[in-house]
């Protein structure tokens, strides 16, 4: 190891000398790299769509995209109105005006549905009338009563356009699924063989369009604020748009706070301008480069990558701190800043490289994740950490060589009695009572494991928002009063054309519409299920003088086929929403409440079984948002397992390599796993689930905390070799490294606890857990590591002490 250390030290010295000799070139090189990458920043995108969590070949996404290609988007922006005075003439006028204004103002609109254009199929003598419910607004109380009567006459409207208790009325806005072709490519559209070669990200609407739609809707709604009518806004696309706004909001808060923390920390630590300005420049320029690289390779800011900016700032500044500390010490002694920085890079280069590598390994464990956006983090975050390292060892020496640096007043190095007394006490306790400390630690670990056993996996985008946020309030209202706000789509492929003309098949659809809302599992119960059968029943009733007893499926397949021709002939294109038009595949749409995806899994399985039994021989495909969420949960679980196993394995190997002894390497890993168990225990205690943001904590923290252990073991080994006494070695280690560990942990903790000020609950939870993990790791390094070292070394050496 000494040989490796020496050769690395020599390499870093040569590199730093080279930088100093060509300081201007080095500065130009790093600035050039920064500008080249930062020039890409305007291309930065944000993606909060549920699809962003999936690889493009994930079967769940493929199936969802196929569905969207056929039927368009499944989910809708939902505007819910609660008229305080009930459904009177004024309300219907209000609804009609709002509906038409939305129709005119909302971009990328595919379909807008409300009571205004609700389909009305009725008989008027020998005439079949297909029209919109509110084609003519009621002009009298009798007219209003007639509208209310018609609403009661059409079960299709219930829970979709109006709540059963008639207290809520909804406007559903569906956006286009697919972007229009650019004008330049239009003429090529006559080519039969033309294939859409656009990437999914170019083909389907993105966040920016979703945000545009949301903005347009909100602008219209703002003009319609009314004391008599409450307005709520929900639906999964609204959640996605709100998420983007919240991420932007959090970035605006967290990045400046992280910068402030860094500035304060550097000012307190170095007490001179150069100590603040240069490291700050280094971390910010490396951050710009990382974000520029993300934009260059089209990696968007997502729920996962949004944590990068503040993370990289906090982690990156540590590199500079290590080198600057040593630099100032040498500079004060020699007064030669160039040789001081060369020596500092030579001395601290290897530890900084090693800590960067371990942190990167922890983050790299995400590369194999089954959640696409987690994998993106696995590519970008290690790159960010290594870029921070590169800027530290090249840009920092160049800046120091070119610009003035004052040696400043020596930082008082006298011992702090209180801290040293505590360190001495820890050294005595852990070396004299190693089994007691290990026992108590084990007990705490056992308690944590017990508590962790109650932690469950979860994915519920709504819980990322504060409990009283508008989007949660609106969704809760829809779920409680209307019974649902998320779609589950079932495609039933009978395998034969015109099968949907078969009365028995249609009757099965009709029966499913009544039976599905009765299936309840884990508290999930569909509000409503509808299909082609409902259209046929409406048409059949209209053909039989609007008699309610004719609201049934006809017994003859010819009549069904002819009624469908009649319905088509009436000019409505609604049939496209229900079948593939060869009448082979039928679609059943199910409206369910917004729940945790982990609960959806069993429910979706139950539905799959139900439809399998109802339509024997048919191919059943469940798609829509709910099956996407179900697959996401599965991907979260496998991603987490892969990431933890990889991080543990690689970091253990790195530890053994760096410590140079298998036994000590493995022992040190115990101390590094304890914080993760502690965090899981805390999650159990606080009822925090393992979701997209909290699953990151384990591997991320492992890569970070292991650095402290490396520092601790290195110093311990040197001190032990010098003194041959355990307590003295531990005390010396704590006096030197211990203090540094406290400082770096405070910065890391501060960096993560900043997240407690975030708007998004998911960020708050992430910050709390990661911050606590840093504290747990510090405690493990101070108590458990010395105790375990004592147990390992006690046969070879006296405990000693003063």
């Amino acid at each position: 190891m000494t040989w490796i250390h020496k050769s690395f030290e020599g390499w870093f010295i040569r590199m730093a000398s080279l930088v100093c000799r060509h300081k201007y070139w080095s500065l130009m090189l790093m600035l050039g790299l920064t500008f080249a990458l930062a020039a890409q920043l305007p291309k930065t995108t944000i993606d909060t769509r549920d699809e962003s969590f999936f690889y493009k070949d994930d079967p769940a996404l493929v199936s969802y995209n196929n569905f969207r290609d056929q039927f368009g988007t499944d989910d809708a922006f939902i505007i819910t109105l609660r008229p305080k005075k009930g459904l009177d003439r004024r309300f219907f006028t209000f609804l009609s005006l709002l509906h038409h204004e939305l129709e005119a103002k909302v971009p990328y609109l595919d379909e807008i549905s409300s009571l205004v254009n609700a389909r009305l199929v009725r008989a008027e003598g020998d005439t079949l009338v297909v029209e919109d419910l509110l084609a003519d607004l009621p002009k009298s109380a009798a007219g209003t009563a007639r509208i209310l009567e018609l609403i009661d006459h059409y079960p299709m409207y219930d829970k979709l356009l109006i709540s059963e208790d008639r207290s809520l009325v909804s406007i559903m806005i569906r956006a286009q699924a697919i972007r229009e072709l650019p004008e330049s490519e239009l003429l090529a559209g006559f080519d039969d063989a033309m294939i859409d070669t656009r990437k999914d990200s170019e083909k389907y609407l993105s966040n920016s369009e979703s945000t545009e739609i949301t903005k347009a809707i909100k602008e219209v709604l703002d003009r319609y604020r009314d004391e008599e009518i409450e307005i709520f806004f929900s639906g999964t696309p609204a959640v996605i748009a709100e998420l983007q706004a919240s991420i932007e909001k959090d970035l605006r808060t967290l990045v400046p706070l992280a910068a402030l923390l860094i500035l304060t920390f550097l000012a307190l630590l170095f007490r001179r301008v150069s100590g603040v300005v240069y490291p700050t420049l280094v971390v910010f320029l490396s951050l710009f480069s990382t974000l520029g690289f993300m934009a260059l390779v089209n990696i968007p800011i997502t729920m996962l990558t949004q944590m990068l900016p503040s993370f990289l700032l906090i982690v990156g500044v540590g590199d500079s701190v290590h080198i600057m500390t040593i630099f100032y010490r040498i500079y004060r002694k020699t007064g030669d800043k160039e040789s001081a920085i060369v020596d500092a890079v030579g001395f601290a280069g290897l530890p900084v490289l090693m800590t960067s590598l371990t942190t990167s390994c922890g983050l790299m464990s995400f590369v194999w994740a089954d959640v696409a956006s987690v994998a993106q983090l696995g590519y970008v975050a290690p790159l960010g950490v290594m870029l921070a390292f590169l800027y530290t060892v090249i840009l920092l020496p160049a800046l120091i060589c070119i610009f003035p640096v004052k040696p400043g007043i020596p930082v008082p190095e006298h011992e702090i009695p209180v801290a040293d007394r505590i360190f001495s006490w820890i050294a005595r306790l852990t070396t004299h009572r190693p089994f007691l400390v290990t026992g108590i630690s084990s007990l705490l670990v056992l308690v944590a494991i017990f508590s962790a056993s109650s932690v469950r996996f979860s994915h519920n985008g709504l819980t990322w928002f504060p409990h009283d946020s508008d989007i949660r309030t609106s969704t809760r209202l829809m779920d409680t009063v209307n019974g649902g706000s998320v779609m589950l789509e079932v495609l039933i492929d009978t395998g034969k054309d015109n099968s949907l003309h078969d009365p028995n098949v249609l009757k099965s659809f009709a029966k499913a519409s009544t039976e599905v809302p009765k299936i309840e599992l884990h508290g999930i119960r569909a509000a409503k299920a509808w299909s082609l059968a409902d259209v046929v029943k409406e048409t059949n009733r209209a053909l039989h003088e609007d008699r309610n007893e004719a609201y049934t499926i006809p017994e003859s397949r010819q009549l069904i086929a002819q009624e469908l021709v009649l319905f088509e002939a009436s000019g409505s294109d609604d049939l496209e929403d229900f079948t593939d038009m060869s009448y082979r595949t039928g679609r059943m749409s199910i409206l369910a409440p917004f729940e945790d995806a982990i609960l959806y899994k069993d429910y979706a399985d139950e539905l799959r079984d139900y439809f399998g039994q109802k339509f024997p021989g048919a191919e059943i495909t469940l798609t829509g948002k709910i099956p996407l969420f179900v697959k996401l949960i599965k991907n979260i679980i496998t991603s987490m397992a892969k990431s933890y196993v990889f991080a543990l394995l690689v970091i253990t190997i790195l530890m053994i390599f760096m410590v140079g002894r298998v036994k000590i390497g493995l022992m040190s890993m115990i101390a590094n796993v304890v914080p993760i168990i502690g965090v899981l225990g805390l999650m159990g205690l606080k009822g925090i689930p393992l979701d997209l943001s909290t699953m990151l904590v384990g591997s991320l923290i492992l890569g970070l905390v292991v650095d402290d252990t490396i520092h601790f073991l290195h110093h311990f080994r040197r001190a032990f070799d010098q003194t041959g006494e355990l307590e003295t070695a531990v005390r010396m280690t704590l006096y030197s490294t211990g203090r540094a560990l406290v400082i770096t942990s405070m910065v890391l903790c501060g960096g993560y606890f900043i997240y407690l000020l975030a708007y998004l609950e998911s960020n708050v939870r992430f910050g709390l857990l990661t911050g606590c993990a840093v504290l747990f790791a510090l405690a493990a390094d101070f108590f458990l590591v010395p105790a375990l070292l004592t147990i390992t070394y006690r046969k070879k050496a006296p405990i000693g002490g003063e």
Partner: protein
Amino acid sequence: MRTFFKILAAMVFGLSAVTSNAFADDPEAWAIMEKVDTREDGDRSMVDMRMILINKQGKERIRSIRSFGIDRGEDHLSLMFFLAPADVSGTGFLTYDYEGGDNDDDQWLFLPALNKTKRIAAGDKSGSFMGSDFSYADLTTRRVEDYKYSFNEQQREVTVHGHKAWVINATPKDEKVAGETGYKRSIVFVRQDNFVVIRAIYFPTNGSTTKYYDVRKLEQIEGVWTGTEIHMTTKKGKRTVHKTILSFNNVKYNQDSVNEDLFSIRRLEKGP
């Protein structure tokens, strides 16, 4: 007269006998469209039509329809009977397409399984015609002065199927027209030698689809240029989501048996 297929060929952009260049954006484009409109298009027609509906997986569904058409003054009457598939055989569709004024068209559908004729009062015409890629609006008359015409900015003329054609943009003059037809604009390709619209691109008001109209076979029958194979393809982006191919056989004009008596409910209920 305007037979089913004739309407398709000539009315794609909405042309009527009532023409005026008062609204023309580009007089030259207007003049071309006027010639399209005044072109001889035959009367008292009879035709056997095959409607092939193709879904995005390439699966075909075939309907056979017998169609009759006659002009009555400026109005157009049409009668269609489904011959196949068996489930809808005998189903008949009678339309009185009134020219001008605010009169809604009259439509009746005869359902043999119920042995009943129903008059249909439908609000707009933008919905699919019989599940095809043609909308009902594609099959009915639209007034030429409802549109503004100009040459396409990208290409003023192109060669289509070996013939030179003008490329003309047609935009509804107001939202009412766009709402009724379901199209916010269209681009038409007019053959320069015979003023037949041989291609068109439609942009529906709602949704992200684009519709491509393409006359694949054009024949001169009894002196009338007649599209005998017409494709209408609905695309989302570059992807075909659905396609309809109409092919016409036994096209005959000026048939004595095609007279006004044919276009009655009694005749509708009698079947093909």
